[in-house]
Amino acid sequence: MINAIIIDDEPNSVFTLDSFIKEHCNEVNIVGSAGNVKSGKELIEDIRPQLVFLDIEMPFGSGFDLLRSLDKITFEIIFITAYNQYALAAFRFSAIDYLLKPIRIAHLKDAVKKAEQRIQEKKAVFNYEQMLHNMQEKDPRKQKLGVLHRGEHIMLQLDEIMYLIADGKYTRIHVKGKNYLMLKNLKDFEEMLPTSIFCRIHYGHIINIDCVSKIQKGRGGNVVMRDGTELEIAVRRKDEFMKLVQHEN
């Protein structure tokens, strides 16, 4: 059994989640709940749960404030939010599981199953600190993109990523000397990556403009990347790209 707690200030939400877990997630045992950041912290320190269902919007600060106030995060977290674009962007960027209110039972089961797996395999707890770091880091080059690769959770620092190439429905991310095939399409990455250093110069690829070593003129032209790869620039996207490069210089 996994011992879990719910931290959410709305009684309705606690009730709903508790009922869903009792009915659909037999492996989880809800051992307590708290309604704000302060009592949430106390509860975590008392109970030392393995899993925390954490709402983002709360009185006296958000779920993130609660995490920051702890010395070390020793539990798995399933984040819950009704609507917070900022938080959602952060979760996606760091490949962290979250649930949206009103909760869909299938999503809940799925998230719980994944958390259970990680707990049983005694894997290092997800890099939540990394996510908090990302949220505070002003320089996008030092932010880390969380990706799932063959079930492994990897963090890629943005200045290591050279380019991304569409591979059918999937995407291949090229970093120095290595590449990873991701189960997401190029559009998903385009939405996540900061536009100050990444540019989609073609239907099929996104490049890191810091990693361009040469620009060859032509109708649209080509870029030569640091590792020697030549990539085409679509005519339609050339202006945007040139503007970005000039801005950088």
């Binding site: 709305e10 009730f15 704000n36 919007e57 609507y83 209110k101």
Partner: protein
């Protein structure tokens, strides 16, 4: 070769048509050279009919002449038209039984010459006459016939008017649900066709319906819609009747001053355009009003006048009510014999109006009509397609012409430096749109849905339904209010009430709330800018009340008048500004209070544009120990009626 033949035959037909036409028109013209021709007559008749609302008596006189001319020049279409007009006019001046003759004659002629639209109009007229006389069975039957004829000729304005009148009959028959359904249908159709004034008429009728259902506030809200439409079109046509209903509603709500004001406005309006039937109603209302105040002499005077008028216009329904009320007045004065006498006549009259057989017949007709309606649906759908196409075409023209107008305007604007004002207008619209988005705070929406989920999980269908309906109502109000620059204070109070009930449910009654309005303000007649107060209330909850511990929160919203300004206080006993700011500064994600910011800049802009003072002040309350004790926001607005 074949084609060629075809063309010749078409030419021949066209030629024949001309010859025939000349043949039919010529003799008529020759016969009555001194008289006007059919086209001129048609124009005259139309303007005469259009002025029926302004002066029914004059229209009646003109219609008499038109009927005679049309007969003399054998212009049958005109004859039917004039007969219809004469019928309407007769009814308007209070002679429905004579009107019946005219409309029946019009129907006969229209059938003979196959003028479908005129025939439908005549049925409408006939039904209206019966309705006025209290013969609802006949009225219902004739309206349904009219609607089906209108459907055949695909005249959507006619159909809409038909539904509207059908609603009137059902209203009289106390079939309120059916009436509302038909009025709504009519209002929607009118809006679709682009006849806002007719839609306003439908709203007025809806109000009458809700009034009958004792739902006076809803009735008032529909009446304000009518007033608004009339104002925006500068039309006085609907005003007296709307004021009449408003007076009745205010009277029921015990708001005497407003009631008397509205009654007088409506009575004068009716008198001006000489519509006896409504003048009667206004007279009755004033009588009823005085009866309510126990001023029996004044009351008797107006009732008696009304009674005479009721006999004149053969309105048995109103007569019966007047008799009953008069009886009550006499009873109050201790004149028992007279009281008994009037009561008795009233009862007799009522029996003859609504007997059981009457009701059963209507019910049968209702089902029959419903079946007919399905049959007509196909043709109605076809017609709606056509309408849509027409509208698209109209839209094209509209787009081109508006493009040209905008270009001209811009050229001029550059010359005369008008663009300043234009810019602030745009700013206002943009801000209003943003305000809408701020008010439909997605966080709030999803949390509401989340709360509903709880009741579903709990299998508490009653609460789930209630919450869902409340939520839907709030969304609807938000969308409706956003369309208007200003709304009535009454509406704003209803909106806040609804919003707060949802929020307090969501936070499990963590706080109580109270919305009040001082007696010297008439909430229905006072206008305030839409979507102004709610952001402050939301703020009070999220930053003040949501964070309190170990005590009960309370939120007071007060509207009051001071020195010719309207004030609104949003007063909470939450954790107060400083405490709230403390923890907000420490927060990882900084909250951006879009709603507040927008409201501030919107009010600033309004102050500039309207040259009136809109002001917000914030009071950080302290208790005896100089500790934070909640926040009070005071919004100052100019009083607008």
């Amino acid at each position: 070769m074949y084609n060629y033949m075809n063309r010749i035959s078409v030419l021949l037909m066209v030629a024949m048509f001309f010859v025939l036409n000349i043949a039919t028109i010529e003799p008529a013209g020759a016969q009555n050279k001194s008289l006007i021709d059919s086209a001129t007559l048609r124009k005259l008749m139309k303007s005469s009919r259009d002025s029926i609302d302004i002066d029914a008596k004059k229209t009646l006189q003109q219609a008499e002449i038109h009927v005679n001319i049309a007969r003399e020049i054998n212009y049958y279409f005109g004859l039917v038209y004039a007969l219809n007009t004469r019928g309407y006019a007769k009814r308007r001046v209070g002679d429905p039984s004579q009107a019946v003759t005219d409309h029946k004659e019009a129907i006969r002629l229209a059938e003979k010459y196959n003028f479908q639209k005129s025939r439908a109009e005549a049925y409408m007229g006939l039904a209206g006459d019966y309705n006025n006389m209290g013969a609802y069975q006949e009225a219902f039957l004739n309206y349904t016939t009219a609607i089906s004829v209108f459907a055949v000729v695909q005249d959507s304005t006619g159909i809409a008017s038909g539904y509207m009148c059908l609603g009137n009959v059902q209203l009289n028959m106390k079939y309120y649900d059916d009436a509302i359904r038909n009025y709504t249908k009519a209002a929607n159709m009118f809006n679709k066709i682009g006849l806002p004034l007719s839609a306003a008429k439908a709203y007025t009728s809806m109000a009458a319906n809700y009034q009958k259902l004792n739902n006076h506030r809803v009735a008032l809200s529909y009446l304000y819609r009518t007033l608004r439409i009339s104002d925006s079109l500068h039309s006085k046509q609907e005003l007296p009747i709307a004021y009449m209903y408003m007076g009745e509603c205010y009277n029921e709500l015990k708001m005497r001053d407003s009631a008397m004001y509205c009654f007088m406005k409506s009575y004068n309006g009716f008198k001006e355009n000489g519509y006896a039937f409504n003048e009667l109603r206004a007279l009755y209302n004033i009588g009823h009003f005085f009866a309510g105040l126990n001023e029996n002499d004044s009351s008797e005077k107006y009732y008696m006048e009304a009674l005479i008028l009721a006999d004149k216009v053969a309105d048995r329904l109103t007569k019966q009510i007047i008799l009953k009320d008069l009886s009550a007045v006499f009873l109050k004065r201790g004149e028992l014999m007279r009281a008994y006498h009037f009561r008795d006549s009233s009862a007799n009259l009522q029996d003859s109006i609504t007997n059981a057989a009457n009701l059963r017949a209507i019910a049968e007709l209702n089902t029959k009509f419903e079946r007919k309606e399905i049959e007509n649906k196909n043709s109605t759908l076809q017609k709606e397609n056509d309408l849509q196409r027409l509208r698209l075409q109209r839209k094209d023209i509209f787009i081109y012409s508006s493009g040209i107008i905008i270009m001209l305007f811009l050229a001029f604007g550059a010359l005369i430096l008008r663009h300043n004002k234009l810019r602030s207008d745009q700013q206002r619209i943009q801000m209003e749109q943003k305000q809408l988005l701020a008010q439909m705070n997605p966080h709030f929406i999803f949390n509401c849905l989340n709360s509903i989920q709880r009741y579903i999980v709990q299998r508490d269908a009653d609460n789930a339904n209630r919450y869902l309906a409340d939520f839907a109502m709030l969304m609807r109000q938000t969308l409706d209010n956003a369309k208007e620059g200003t709304i009535s204070l009454l509406k704003e109070m209803e909106y806040l009430e609804n919003y707060l009930s949802l929020e307090s449910m969501r936070f499990a009654n963590k706080f109580t709330y109270n919305i009040t309005c001082s007696d010297d303000i008439e909430p229905g007649l006072t206008q305030i800018p839409s979507m102004i107060i709610q952001p402050f209330v939301e703020n009070a909850i999220i930053h003040g009340l949501r964070n309190i511990e170990h005590r009960e929160g309370s939120l007071d919203i007060r509207f009051y008048k001071k020195e010719d300004s309207l004030f609104c206080e949003v007063d909470d006993n939450g954790i107060g500004f400083n405490a709230s700011k403390d923890y907000k500064d420490k927060m990882f994600i900084k909250h951006k209070s879009y709603g507040m910011e927008l409201t501030r800049s919107r009010l600033a802009l309004m102050s500039k544009m309207k040259r009136a003072e809109y002001k917000i002040s914030v009071v950080h309350k302290l208790n005896g120990n100089q500790e934070n004790d909640g926040t009070k926001i005071i919004v100052k607005l100019p009083l607008i009626f």
